[in-house]
Point group: C2
Chain length 590, copies 2
Amino acid sequence: MIFMIYQRSLWTLSVSPMLTTVQTGYGFTFLLHIFLQELSAIFFIVYISSKRIACFYLSKPQPHQFTILVRGIPSSYGRSFSEIVESFFTEYHPSTYLSHSVIHQTSKIRGLINDADKLYRRLAHIKSENRTKQNFKRDGFLGLFGRKVNLLDHYEKKLEDMEDNVRMEQNSMAEKEVAAAFVSFNSRFGAAIALHIQQGVNPTEWVVEQAPEPQDVHWPFFCASFIRRWIYELVAAVATVALTIMFLIPVVIVQGLANLNQLETWFPFLKGILSLTVVSQLITGYLPSLILHLFLFFVPPIMIWFSSMQGYVSLSQIEKSACTKLLYFTIWNIFFANVLSGSAFYLVNVFLEPKNIPRVLAEAVPAQASFFISYVVTSGWTSLSSELARLFPLLCSFIKKLCARRDGDKFEVPAIPYYSEIPSVLFFVLLGVTYFFLSPLILPFLLIYFCLGYIIFRNQLLNVYAPKYETGGNFWPVVHNSTIFSLILMHVIAIGIFGLKKLPLASSLTIPLPVLTLLFNEYCRKRFLPMFKAYPTECLIKKDREDQNEPNMREFYDNLVTAYRDPALMPVWYARNGDTHNSPLLHSEP
Amino acid sequence: MIFMIYQRSLWTLSVSPMLTTVQTGYGFTFLLHIFLQELSAIFFIVYISSKRIACFYLSKPQPHQFTILVRGIPSSYGRSFSEIVESFFTEYHPSTYLSHSVIHQTSKIRGLINDADKLYRRLAHIKSENRTKQNFKRDGFLGLFGRKVNLLDHYEKKLEDMEDNVRMEQNSMAEKEVAAAFVSFNSRFGAAIALHIQQGVNPTEWVVEQAPEPQDVHWPFFCASFIRRWIYELVAAVATVALTIMFLIPVVIVQGLANLNQLETWFPFLKGILSLTVVSQLITGYLPSLILHLFLFFVPPIMIWFSSMQGYVSLSQIEKSACTKLLYFTIWNIFFANVLSGSAFYLVNVFLEPKNIPRVLAEAVPAQASFFISYVVTSGWTSLSSELARLFPLLCSFIKKLCARRDGDKFEVPAIPYYSEIPSVLFFVLLGVTYFFLSPLILPFLLIYFCLGYIIFRNQLLNVYAPKYETGGNFWPVVHNSTIFSLILMHVIAIGIFGLKKLPLASSLTIPLPVLTLLFNEYCRKRFLPMFKAYPTECLIKKDREDQNEPNMREFYDNLVTAYRDPALMPVWYARNGDTHNSPLLHSEP
C-alpha cells in the first residue's frame, strides 16, 4: 500500500518544478516535463520493485508461498479428484510434493451456515433480552392457537436441527469434489517449479496459478471449467465496455426527467417550496450533479461484481481487475464525456477516425479547463475530507444498527477499497498531466490535493484501515500504465494544438514523443514487469535455505496441510453449550 | 517440415467443397466456408501439436534438450564469466547442473580461419595441377624480378603462418569471453526448470532461453547486451516496415525509366531489334514484370539479413522471423499494392481511416480478380515447376564452377528455404480465401496449384533437400495466424460488398463474423500455442525416466560437455601432413 503514498509524493515532486518552467515556452517545458515524468516513473518502479523483493526476504514462511492452485484436473472414471492429484504430483514432483486439498462445491453448506448464523444472532439477542421478560409464542396457525412454547427453546431446537443438517452435508462432501485443488510443496522453489512449467500435455488441463493467501481466497467460483471461465471473462469484458460506453445514457435521461417542471407535476405538494428562488436554484444547480453522483456511487460495486464473475479466485485479484475497469470507466465518463460533451455514439465515432483525434481533442480539451479546475476542488478535495471524516460509513453503520438492532455483530476493522481509491487518484494525475500546459492554474489546486492526500491517506493507512491481504506492490503496474496513458494523451493533445495554431514544425516535432514514450514503456515492461509477476530463483532458493535453519518449520508444514480448507467445511460449534463465550461464534478458527 | 505438406492438403480439402457450394448463395457458402476453415484449422493444429509431442517422445537424447542459453551474465571484478556461471548454477541448481561453455568473441579467428580455408583450397587446386606442370613465381616486384620460388612451398609456408596465428588467437581466447554461455543439465526437466523460472533478481541479467541444436547455432551475434539487442530489434522492425511500405517506389521509378523510348535512347544499337513488333510487345509486356521480379529476388536475403541483425542465436529462429516478415511483405506489396494500385502514401492513408477500409476494399478487390487468376498461373505454377527442375540453382552452381574453378568445394545437400517458400504458399491461400466468393473461377487454378505443390514438395522433401535443423512444427503458428488474417480480410471485404450492393441487413449480419473468428483465434492461442512454446512436465519427466534405462547415457553426457563449442575454437589440422585425406578439410569434427 505504501506505493500509493509514494505516488502522491511523486506527483507533488514532478508537478511543482513544472509550474515554474511553464512560462519559459512550450518546447523546454515539454521536454523537461517528459523527462521528469519518465525519470520519476523509472525511479519509483525501481524503488517499488526493490521494496517488493525486500518484503519477500523479510516475510515469515507463509502458506501461499508454498502452495499453488491447480485447476482443470482431468477426470478419470472410478477415481476421485483427490486420488488423481495425489498420484499426479507424487509421480512428477516426488521430492517436493507435500499435500493437497481438493476444493468442494460448498454453496449449499454456505447457505445453511448463513441461516444458522442469523438464527444464532437472533438467539443471542433474545437471550440478552431474556433477563427482562420471558418470550413465548404459540406454535399453531399464525402463532394464534396451539400451546405456548418458550421462544428460546424453539430457536435452540431449530439451531440444533440446522447443526445436524450442516454436519450431514459436510459428511456427504466427498462426492461433491470440484476439479480444482490447492497443492502444497515443501519449498518455495518446489512450488515455483510446478507453477512455471506447463504440467499436462493439454494446456487446458492441470492449469496452475499462484495460490492466494488463505484468508484472501474467494471460494464461490472454483467449479467453472477452463472454457466456461473463458466465456465468463469475455462476458465480463463486454459488460464492462457496454457499461462504460453506455453509462451516460440513463444518467442523461434521468437528469432530463428530474427537472423543475417534472418535479412539480409529480409531486404537486412541493409546489410551494419549489417556487422559492433559493430552492429552485439549488435544485437546478445541484440535482443533475446529485443524480450523476448517485449513479456513480453504484459503479464500483458493479465493477467488483463483474470482476468476481470473471472467475478470479482471490479478493486481491478481483480488486485489481475492478481497479483497472474503474480506471477506464473514470477516464471515459469523466474525462472524455466532459471534454467531447456529445452522445455516446459521437464519442465512439471520434475514436473510429484516428486521424482526427488530435484535432478534435485540441479543440475540445482547452475549453473544459475551468470545469476540471472546479472538479479538482469539488470532487478531489471533498472526497479527501470525507475520507478523513468517514462520515458515510458512520451514517451507514448507524442506520444499520438502528434498523437491524443486532447486538451480536462484532465490529470489523475496514479494509481500504483500493479499487475505488486508486482510479480516482490516478484520474487527478491524468488531469495534471494533460492540463499542465493548457491551463497551469490547475497545478496549485492539484498540489494541494496531493499534499492533503499524502497526509490524510498516511493517517488512514496507519490508524484506520487494516489490510485484508498483502498487495506486494501488485497495483503498481496499473499506476505505471495509467501514467504512460496520460503522457500519450498529453502528446496527442499537443500535436493537435500545434496543428490548430498553424505551427506545423512544432506539431511534427511532437510526433516522435508518443513513439518515444511507448518505447520507454516497452523497455519498462521488459525490465520491470517480470519482477511483479513472480519471484526469481535466486530469491526463492535463498529464502528456502534460510528456512532450513528455522526451528518451527515442522509446525509450519503441519499447519500448511490444513491452511487451505474451505471455511464451510470447518466443524460447527454452538454457543448453546455455554453462554460465557460471546465472541467465538459459529466457526472455529482453524 | 511435414506440416507444409499437410497444409497443402488442408487447403485442397477445404477448397474443393467450397467450389460446389459457391452457387447456392452467399449466406450458406459463407457459413460453410468459415465452418470448414475453422474446423480444418483446429483439426490440423490438434494433429500437428500431437505430432510434435510424438516426435519428442521418439527422439533420442539430444544436446539441445538438456541445454539452455544464458545471456546477460553479470560481470564481477576479478572473476571470469566462466567462474561466475559455474558458481551461480552450482549454488542454485546443485542437483541438476552438469557443465557449461562460455561463448567467446571469435569474429577475428573466424576471419583468419576463412582466409586459411581459402588458401588451403588454392593449395589443393595447385597440387591437383602439379602433376602436369611445375608452378614457380618470382618473389620480387610484381613477380617480375627476384629469385624463382616454388609456388607450392610459398603457399605452404603461408598456411603454416596462418595456422600459428589461429593457434595463438585461440590460446588468447580466455580474455575474450562474452557475457553468454550454454549451460547443460543432467535432465530435460532440470533444463526446463532453469529455463522457465526467472533466475536473477534483475530480469535483464541471467536471461535464459532454450538452446538451439548445436549445428543450428548462429555464432556471430552473442556479444550484444540486453539493451543493445533490444535496440537492434527495434531497428530491424523499423527497417522491415520501411522496406515493406517503400518497396514499390524504386520499382515504379525503374519501371518508368525502362520503357521502350528510354531503351532506344540509351542503347541506340538496339533500335533495329526494338522496332520489330514482336520484340517491342515482349518488352512492353514483360520488362516491367521482369524488373519487379528482379527486385523481389533480393527481398528474401534482405529479410534474412534483418532477422540475423535482430540478435537471434540460431538459424531456425532467423528463418522463422524472416518468414513472418516476408509474409507481411508479400501481402502488402502483392495483394494490397495491386488491389489498391496507388502510391505508398495513399495505401498507408487508407489504413489510417479504419471506417472506410471495407468500402475501399469492396470497390477495388473484385476488379483485380482476373489479374490474380493469371498470377496463380504465371507465378504459382511457374514457381512450382522451377522448384521441381531447380534450374536456377543449377545455373548458379554451373557459373560459380566456371568462374572460380574451385575443385576443392565439396557438394552440399541444400536445405529447403522455409522463409521464402512458406510465405508464397500462404499467399495463395489468402487469394483462395478472399476471392472464392468474388470470382470462384480462381478455385480450380488454385486446386491444381495445391495438388501439384503437394506432389512436388513431397518429392523435394524426400529426395532433394536435407533439413539443416528439426523445426518441430514451429512454423505452424505462422500458418495459423496467416489463415486467421485471410479469414478476417475476407469478412471485411464481404461487409464492404454487401454495403455497396445496398444490402444493409447482410452487411450487418456479417459484422459478428470477424469478431467470432478473432474469438476462435484467441481460443486457439490459449489452447494450443503453449504446446508450440515448450514441452510440459509430464513429457519431460517421462522422457527423463526412459533415459535412465538407456545404456549409453554416460557417453552422451560426456559428449554434452563439448557439444556447444564454437567451431572457431576447434583445433586446426592441416592437410599438409598427408595428402591422402581429401575431404576432412580444415576443421576437425568434434
